[in-house]
Symmetry: C2
Subunit: 568 residues, 2 copies
Amino acid sequence: MSTLVEQLLDTEAHRSIFETAVRQNPLPVCAAFGSSDQPQPVRFSNTSQVLGTKDADGVRAQFPQTVAASGNVVLSSAGASTARVTGKRVAVLFSGGPAAGGHNVVCGLKRVLGAGNTLFGVKAGPKGLLKGSLFEITDANVDFILNTGGFDFLGSDRTKIKSAEQFAQVRETCIKHNLDAIVVVGGDDSNTNAAVLAESLFSGVKADGSGVQVIGVPKTIDGDLQIPGLLSISFGFDTATRIYSEMVGNILQDTSSSLKYWHFVKLMGRSASHVALEVALQTKPAIALISEEIASKQESLASIIDRVARVIVERSHKGMNYGVLLAPEGLIEFIPEMNAMIAELNDVLAHHAAEFAALADDAKADFVGSRLSADNAALLASLPHYIVNMLLAERDSHGNLQVSLIPTEQLLIDMAKKRVKELDPAVPFAAHNHFLGYEGRCGAPTLFDAAYTFNLGLTAGSLILDGRTGYMATITGLSNGGTPQAIPLAGLLNIERRHGKDEFVIEKALVKMDSPAMKFFASRRDEWAAGDLFASPGPRQFWGPTTHQLPISVALNSGADSLMFRIG
Amino acid sequence: MSTLVEQLLDTEAHRSIFETAVRQNPLPVCAAFGSSDQPQPVRFSNTSQVLGTKDADGVRAQFPQTVAASGNVVLSSAGASTARVTGKRVAVLFSGGPAAGGHNVVCGLKRVLGAGNTLFGVKAGPKGLLKGSLFEITDANVDFILNTGGFDFLGSDRTKIKSAEQFAQVRETCIKHNLDAIVVVGGDDSNTNAAVLAESLFSGVKADGSGVQVIGVPKTIDGDLQIPGLLSISFGFDTATRIYSEMVGNILQDTSSSLKYWHFVKLMGRSASHVALEVALQTKPAIALISEEIASKQESLASIIDRVARVIVERSHKGMNYGVLLAPEGLIEFIPEMNAMIAELNDVLAHHAAEFAALADDAKADFVGSRLSADNAALLASLPHYIVNMLLAERDSHGNLQVSLIPTEQLLIDMAKKRVKELDPAVPFAAHNHFLGYEGRCGAPTLFDAAYTFNLGLTAGSLILDGRTGYMATITGLSNGGTPQAIPLAGLLNIERRHGKDEFVIEKALVKMDSPAMKFFASRRDEWAAGDLFASPGPRQFWGPTTHQLPISVALNSGADSLMFRIG
């Protein structure tokens, strides 16, 4: 066998040249953890900051034990642990969609728990916790997953632990494996679940009456888990937006090379437009739509299309028959009139379900149109047939429209084409559409995400060794060395009435119109539309001079004085 | 204004942190050019290798001057130039789709021509040569474009210079700008055009009776411009496949993290499957379809679908309800029965044009089906309606089906879903589709493409200073230091009879079944289908330990003994 073939066989199963090299990349740790070679656990003490929402009283009633223990006070690291805690049995699980850096959370946990404690991995997410699918994580495991992307070491799923039966199953798993603590790596929903679990497992789980600690770790590529001053960003956002930004930068470079295409790019991110805003700040395209701005200005679909078409026409008049438009995945739901029309549509469909189902496909639009208010009927009639079909298609199990299936990028292309022709029939408009989503969730973590998550793991493990429960780990001061802190989860909860029951939710952080990132974007976008001022941020680098970047929106919103992060 | 805002404004217009840093990256040059700081032109001498196709006689008759001058003999560098040539006026243009590294060809040209000669850029491709849109390229220009992606410094288009009027326009441009040479950066068609131009401009262009030299540079991300022993790969292929490989690697990591989706990925590359093969070798997915293999085995669509569905079912039975399939863009045309059916379809549509046009949309499939042979009618009936609609849609200006618009990835998903259900109704199959194309053409060139193209520019410039015409620049021995060589373009030409006229073509290099790359892939793919042996090649790196990689298929096919390239 040739040397080359042997080398190639060696790259199978997560052993590409890159993966092998990046595993060796050292990670900085916050000064609080001591040396990066041998990070040590920290203990925590109360800060003066108390959290609480408008629903604090209702939350306290439902979370009496965790709120009494934490007082909803933010914790901060307070020097090295004095006692050497051993014998703890800790389980870690991934919940929801994957995000880059999850593996390093596990590595940080394992490192700080050390040989004296045991770390278990829960297979395939919360479902694995219910089933008791646990395995012990070894040092060799963490050496192999360090700095690699994805959640594939454990797997993930979206099971929400809600029913009494499910809580009983979790208890059973805790007892069976004699667990002392669970670490939940997830987004807003999963951290809400962690808060509920912390309360449910607070005491009386084990034979001696003691409980099981629960700690959350803030993950989501959408970037909508943010707490001013305490959580600048969830992990995975940086890697995802850098991956999308490279692709958008490449496409921008293609537009001004080929000189004949527009590209309309939809970006993942269910509700908030943080991803679209960050990618816009990185790449400076001709147009970027921000859902929250459209909602706050009560902008109509026709007005959005007109705005887009005018940029296309103006660029064409300057000889630029090309450009890039960015649109957030959740756009449709943020256009007030679309939202209103969909709501009325849902009512009509619910009230005439049998009649509607009996109709021939091509009679459905007319049937519905004649039953909508005049405005909504006109709006429906203005949409391309494939969007109408989607709007009339089957609802999900909650009776809701499946918005994520709507090809927003194609809708914008088709409507813009029509409007461009009205404004100036001589303007050529040829467009391609893209959806950037799954490509961004499992890439190798940027050095920012890699270091951030490793330190989040060290923090979560320290919280466990310090006997804490019901907190979310965080690192503050990301451009200033980094400080391990802990956010009391119950202090973040709001109460929403759903299906006649109180549900607890951590509110999603949307893009704020008065945030520095949004204001900077708004101050530059007209220039970006008028000329070719775009930049190619390039692929994320793991060695060399460009490795230590913060997301631009995070740097702006946290008042940093440079684009570089500094941990340690 | 804050420091940070100032920093952000500084990143506009191609000045991202990455772009600013990568411009400073030094590039190695072949030993023949001397030091990389001050590369010097080389002269060339004949090798013993003479090129020629089966049509050599016919080509000689049409290219009497260039063939007489070159004898179709391959040239190799033969030491530093002895004479210092000055006063040459050289124009460079990009032709066809962009590919990473084009800018570095310009940089290499400028560097080797030096201050004593003048380099002009032709704006917007061959069309700019017809119009005479030229501008002088400065040292500051090349400092700014060095190592950046895209063709945007000049722009590009797809104009083919064919008519007597067009040739006259080119002559006019040459005279007006007093040009001595033209460098055409392009693919197989553009290099054919370069051969024709070289003959047409061989002599009698300028007042003193002298001609204008024409040199080609081999570009195309498709990788189908290859000449065994002389041209391992066209430039841009490495960057594009590395970009696609990162995305596919990320998606693979996502499949085994989320544990519930298949992803069917269509990869750019009009005819040949080199891109799909390279991405498969980089990432080791469950399934990769290679068009050339399907054609050579005369595989039917039903058989392909059955093969795919069996992998899906077998993986599911092992608990893996996920995976990745790669399909080349040109797949449909390589399935023999599809090709035959489309040919008969074209006949039917041509013979019944008026009747067909008068039909209602939903009557068209039946009308056509009843006029096809039984086999072709059955095949048509087996396809999803959106594919049938596409097959019955308007032809392009040559009467051909617009194959690139066919959503092959969705066709494969829908047909596989049906077949999976037949094989085992209990197997879940949820799939997403992707098309990776434009994202890969204009990324920053890998260090391989950056160094390769810079040296191709040095070679093209040296050929001009050495008085040569009708050659394509190449660098051989890419894992062995690199040697500047020149391929006589007329020696590559075949004659095809089209529309009653002889047309010259450089044959596209397809994937060969007996090539080392294909054989290695075939030897491993069953293992890749049976388990999760995938690798994430990661984003291309410009600093650090993983920068010097060759495309795997190029390393295998050229008999290299490692995956590393070595120039200089």
